[in-house]
Subunit: 344 residues, 4 copies
C-alpha cells in the first residue's frame, strides 16, 4: 500500500515513519511539513539517517498526494484534518487522522471543547480505537485515531462499564504522561530545566480528552457518563499511566471483575492483562504497541482501581494508527507492529 | 538546645543534619547508626564534608544519649521508636519521631496496618502536623511527626472537610512521590535503570498512609472518614504532588471553598495558597519547608480537585520535624527553616 | 539456527531476547539463570509478556544445552565464559561471549586487568568487533564480543590510527555511559536517588576497557598504543558517547581525516558518518545497532576530537552479538537488526 | 548594603535572589527585566512566593538604580553589561557582572571570541574568581565574575600549573554541564523530550570559555597556554563536572601533586579537597557554593586527571558573585553562603 504522512515532523508523524519503516506492506510515498518544506527528513531527524531519504513537501497540492496514496495519515494540529478530509472526499484514498477532528460522532461536543466550528460534520468516519471499534474501522473512509490519554483510559474502563459492574458517574481518571505528548514545539513550560525533576498537573477539569472518554464509555455501556479526568506531566519523554477509579455496584465480586477483562480482551494481542493486584509500568510497554492493564479492588471503599500503561506515541498515536491501517487493509493486526518493548 | 539524631544515615536523618546545620538554636550532640557505627558522617555523606565532623555512634546506650540531649529526633524504621520512647520515658528529654510509631491515637489502627504489636500505647504523645496540631505539639513529650504523603494530603483536604464542604467518604487521594521517599536502602525495584524513564503505582488500596489521613480528616471534621489513597513513584528524587478528589456538598460555592482555605491557612508561613485554578509544582517547593496548595471546581461533576506539593524530605519529614521542634521550644516557627526553594 | 542464551536475566541477556524475537533465522531454545532457575522469563521481565514463554534453566547441564544449540550467547560476568568455552570445546556449537574472557589475544593482559587466571588461553577465538574483524568472525569457534565503551572508542579512532594521521600515544578517550552498563544488580551507588540528577567519573586510569582499546588500536595501526580512558556515569539508562582526543601528525589535513572515515566506513550499514563538525547524540541511536560518528579539528591545538555514540546494550552488547551471529552464519548483516532508533 | 539585580529573570538572576534572601547584610532594592517589566517576581517564579514581593523594573533609568544601590549585579547576555558599566562609571556604585564583558584583561581576546566590539576596554575591573583573585576583588570597581565551566576548570588546574607540575599545553578539559547553563529561554535543542535521556557534546573547539581558562592558566603559571575545551550537556538541571587532563613534567611525584592542592586550597572554605583517587559528584555540591576537587595520576601515561564539581548556578554564577560581594565589602566570605548541599 502506498501511504503518505501529513505533518511528518511532529512527534507522532516521526513515530509513524519509525514504525512504517518496518512494515512489509507499506511504502511511504509522500511526507509533508509546511515549516520544513524542501528539507530532508533525515536532516531534521538524524535518527532516521540511513533509513529514509525523503524530502518534505508542502501539502498545498493535497489532491496530488491523495491521488498517489492508498492511505493518508494526518499528524496535524486539530482543525487542519477537516480541510484535508473535505478535499480528499471524492478520491478513493482512505484517511487516518491522528488528531481530534474525526473522533466525535456528535460534532457539537467537538465544537464545545475545541472552540472551532466543525466544517466536515457529515464525514463518513469512525472512532479509531482498534480493539473496540474494529468492525467500523474495517470499512471507514476516515478513521479518527483515538487520543493517547483516551486510549489508556477507555481500554481500562470499558470492561467494567460494559458489564455494568461500576457506577459510570463515579469514574475518576488520574492520568500521567511523558512530555512528548505535549508536542515538539518548544515553549517555556516544556523547557528542559523547568520540567526536569518536577511533577505537576495541568488542565484540571477541562482537558479535551475528557469528552472523548465520556463518548466511548457512554457508547459502549449505554449509560450517559460524565467523568473527571486529570492529566499530569511526568519528567520523562514517553509513556502514559492511567489510574482509574470507580465505585463498584453493590454485590459485584472480584471474579466478575476478572471475567469482564478476560472476556473482552483475552484474545487481544496488544492488550496484556497483568491481572488483579498487578502493576503496569510505562517502561514495560515503551516503544511498543501494547496496553498493559491491571486492576485492584478496595473492600473498604467498594471501589475498583484500574491501571493501564501505554507508550503515548505508539499505542497512543502512531502504533494504533498502523494497527487501524492493518485492520482497514485486512492485514494481520500485528503486521509491522510485532516488536518488543525496550527495557530498561 | 542539645539535639541528637537516631538513624542519621537514612535520607530523613541526613536531611535533618542539613537543616539543623543552619539552625541558630540547635546543636547536634549525638548521631547514631547501627550499620555505620564508628564512621564519620562526612565520609558516608560527602556533601556534609567541611560542615560536620561527627562520628556515628550506636544507640545501644540510648539512656546516655537521652541524658545528653534536650531533644531526640528518631529516623528509624517503624517499630524501633517505641523501644526508644519507653527507655527515655523517665528522662526530661523530648522526642520527635519521624516514623509511624507515635502517629496514631488508636494504636489498634497502627497494629492493623503495620502488623506489629504496639508496645507503648499509653505514651504521652501527639500527632506532629504542625499547622493543625500546634497546641498539642507545644507541650507533648513525644511528637509523632506526620508522614510525607499524609502531610500533603491532609493539608489539602482539611479546609474542605472541617467546613463540611465535601462528602468525606468520596475522598480519593492520587499521590505521586519522588524515589527518596522509598529510603536509602538499594533494592531491585529502585535500581536506577528500572525506575528511570518509568512511572508506576504501588501499594494500591493498602498503603500505610491511608489510615493516617483518615485519622486526621475524621478528627478535624468530626465525621468518620474512609478514603482511597494511591501512591505512585515519579522518576525523580524529591517531591510529592497529591491530587485530591471529593464531591462537594450540594449548594457549596467556589467562594466558600476559597474562604475555607484562606481562613485556615491565610496566616501560615509554610502554607502558600496559590489559589483557585492554580497549579503547584514540586519544583516550586524543592528543598524548602513549604506546602503549596491550589484547588479547582468542576461544575460538570460537582467535585473539587485540590492539589498540594511538598518536598517529601522537608515538609514531609525533616523540615516539619524542625518546625515541630521550634513549636515545642517556643522559637519562631521558621527558625532555621527560612530558606527559599531551589529552582530550576 | 537454534540459539541459547546463558545469563538471560542480565540486561545484555534480556536485550538479546528482545532482538532475537524479531530475527527471522534464529530460534531461542534455552535460556539460563542460576538465580532464577525455574522461573518464566516473562514474570521476571514483564515487557516480554506475550512474546516469550520460556522457563529459565540452570546451566549446570551445559553440554546438553550445547548439543541442542547451533550458537550459544553468553551474558555472564567475566570468568564464567571460560569454563563454558572449555566444556563446549568439542561440540560443533559456536559461541558468542558478551563478556571479556575471549576478547584478548594475549591472555596475560586479561589476567593483569581482570585479576583472574585465564584457564582457556588457547581457545580458537577472535575479537568480535564486527566492522573491523569481519573475516575472523566468519569462521571463529568463539567470538569475544567487543565491550560497550570499547566499541564506541575503537570505531571512532581506528580510521585515524590506521592511516597514521594521529600520534596514537596522545589518545585520550573521555567516555560517558548510561547506567544500564553497570548491570542489573542493585547496589548503593546505583540506587535511584543517588544517581538521579547527578554526574560522576569512576575507575579513572584503571577501567578494564582500557587495554581492550589499546589492543585494537595497536593491532590495526601497527603502533604500540597506550591511552587514557575515563568513564563517567550519565543519569540515564542507555547510551554511550565517547569523546576521543588525539594530536594530529604534522601536515595532516582535514580532507585526509574526512577520507579516512569515508574509506573505512563508507559502505557500512551500522556506522553512520555524520561528518566533520557534526554532533552525534545518544538519542539518535537509542534502541538501534547504529554507531554514529563525527569529528572536529582544532587548528589552535592541532588535535582531532572524534565523537561517537552507540546504545550500549545494542551496538555495545546484544546488537553487535547478533551482527556477529549474522556474519558467522553468512546471513545479511542487518538481519533482525534493521530497525530504527527510538526518538524522542 | 543596598543591592540591585539587572536581568533578574534569567536563571542566574533568580539564583541571586534565592541566595540574597538569606544574606544578613544585603537588601535587594531593584530588580529589572525588559521582557517582564511591571510583573511581580513571585508571579514569574512561584518558588519565591511569600519570600519576595518585588516588581520588575526596566533598566532604562539605570542611573537612578545605580544611585540607589551600593552594588549592582548584572545577569544580562554578553554585550549589555559594557553599556551599563559605562553609564555607572561616575557613580560610587560597584558592579559584579555575571557575564563575560569584564572577564578579559585583553579585550581583543574578548572581541575575537564574542564577535562584538568592546566599548569599555579601559574599565577598572578584575577577574572575579574569588579564591585566585581575592586581592583584586577587594578594591575593584567592576568585577567580571568568572564563568561556570571556567570556575570548575581553573580551580582544578591552577595548583598544577602554578607549581609547574604539568606541561600546560597538554591540557584538555572535558566538561559536562546540566542544562540550566544554557539559560531560561526555550529553544528546540533544549526542549524537554529532546534532551531527556540524551547526552551530547556541543561547541567543540570553539566554546567561549576556552580563552577564559587560557587567560587564567597563563596568568597564574606565567606560561602561555593553549588548551582544548569540550563542553557536553548532561540531562539534568544543575551541576558541572570538569575532567581535566595534562601530562606531568618528568619526575613529578604524587606527593608534589598532593602538596600543590593542599598549599593553595588547604584553607579555603569553599574548596573541598577530596584528595588523590577520589571522585567528586555534582550531587555533593548541588545548591551550594562548594567546589569539590580530586585528582588521579596515571603511571602508564604520565598524565594527571583532575576532577572538579560545582553547581553551575552557585559557585559557577550567583554564589560566586555573592562571595565576591562579600570580599569586596570586607564581610566574612561565607556570609549568606554557609549552607549545605542538597542530597539526594
Amino acid at each position: 500500500m502506498r501511504v503518505s504522512v501529513l505533518g511528518a515532523t511532529g512527534y507522532a508523524g516521526a513515530e509513524l515513519l519509525r514504525i512504517l519503516y518496518g512494515h512489509p506492506e507499506a511504502e511511504v510515498v509522500h511526507i509533508t511539513s509546511e515549516s520544513h518544506t524542501g528539507e530532508n527528513i533525515a536532516d531534521l531527524y538524524p535518527h532516521l539517517r540511513g533509513l529514509y531519504d525523503l524530502t518534505l513537501e508542502s501539502m498545498q497540492d493535497i489532491e496530488r498526494i491523495g491521488r498517489d496514496s492508498d492511505f493518508v495519515f494526518i499528524g496535524l494540529p486539530h482543525g487542519h484534518a477537516m480541510a484535508v478530509g473535505q478535499k480528499l472526499a471524492n478520491l478513493p484514498v482512505r484517511i487516518i487522522d491522528l488528531g481530534a477532528d474525526y473522533r466525535f460522532s456528535d460534532t457539537k461536543v467537538y465544537e464545545e471543547w475545541y472552540h472551532v466550528p466543525h466544517t466536515h460534520p457529515n464525514a463518513p468516519r469512525c472512532y479509531g480505537l482498534a480493539e473496540l471499534y474494529r468492525e467500523d474501522i474495517k470499512k471507514a473512509k476516515i478513521i479518527g485515531n483515538a487520543g493517547c490519554f483516551t486510549t489508556a483510559s477507555i481500554l481500562a474502563l470499558v470492561p467494567l462499564a460494559k458489564k455494568h459492574l461500576i457506577d459510570v458517574n463515579t469514574i475518576i481518571v488520574d492520568a500521567k504522561s511523558g512530555v512528548s505528548g505535549a508536542g515538539r514545539k518548544p515553549k517555556q513550560g516544556n523547557h528542559f530545566p523547568e520540567l526536569y525533576d518536577n511533577f505537576k498537573a495541568y488542565n484540571v477539569a477541562h482537558h479535551r480528552h475528557t469528552p472523548e472518554i465520556e463518548q466511548a464509555i457512554t457508547d459502549l455501556s449505554g449509560e450517559q457518563t460524565i467523568i473527571n479526568f486529570t492529566p499530569h506531566l511526568v519528567p520523562m519523554s514517553r509513556g502514559i499511566l492511567a489510574t482509574c477509579y470507580a465505585t463498584l455496584r453493590e454485590g459485584v465480586t472480584a471474579e466478575q471483575v476478572d471475567a469482564a477483562y478476560t472476556e473482552l480482551y483475552g484474545q487481544e494481542h496488544f492488550i496484556r492483562l497483568l491481572g488483579r493486584d498487578a502493576y503496569p509500568e510505562t517502561k514495560y510497554v515503551r516503544g511498543s504497541n501494547f496496553c498493559d492493564i491491571a486492576w485492584h479492588l478496595d473492600a473498604r471503599t467498594h471501589r475498583v482501581i484500574a491501571l493501564s500503561a501505554i507508550d503515548n506515541l505508539v499505542k497512543g498515536a502512531a502504533g494504533q494508527a498502523v494497527q487501524n491501517f492493518n485492520i482497514a487493509c485486512g492485514f494481520p493486526e500485528a503486521t509491522g507492529l510485532d516488536f518488543t518493548p525496550i527495557y530498561p
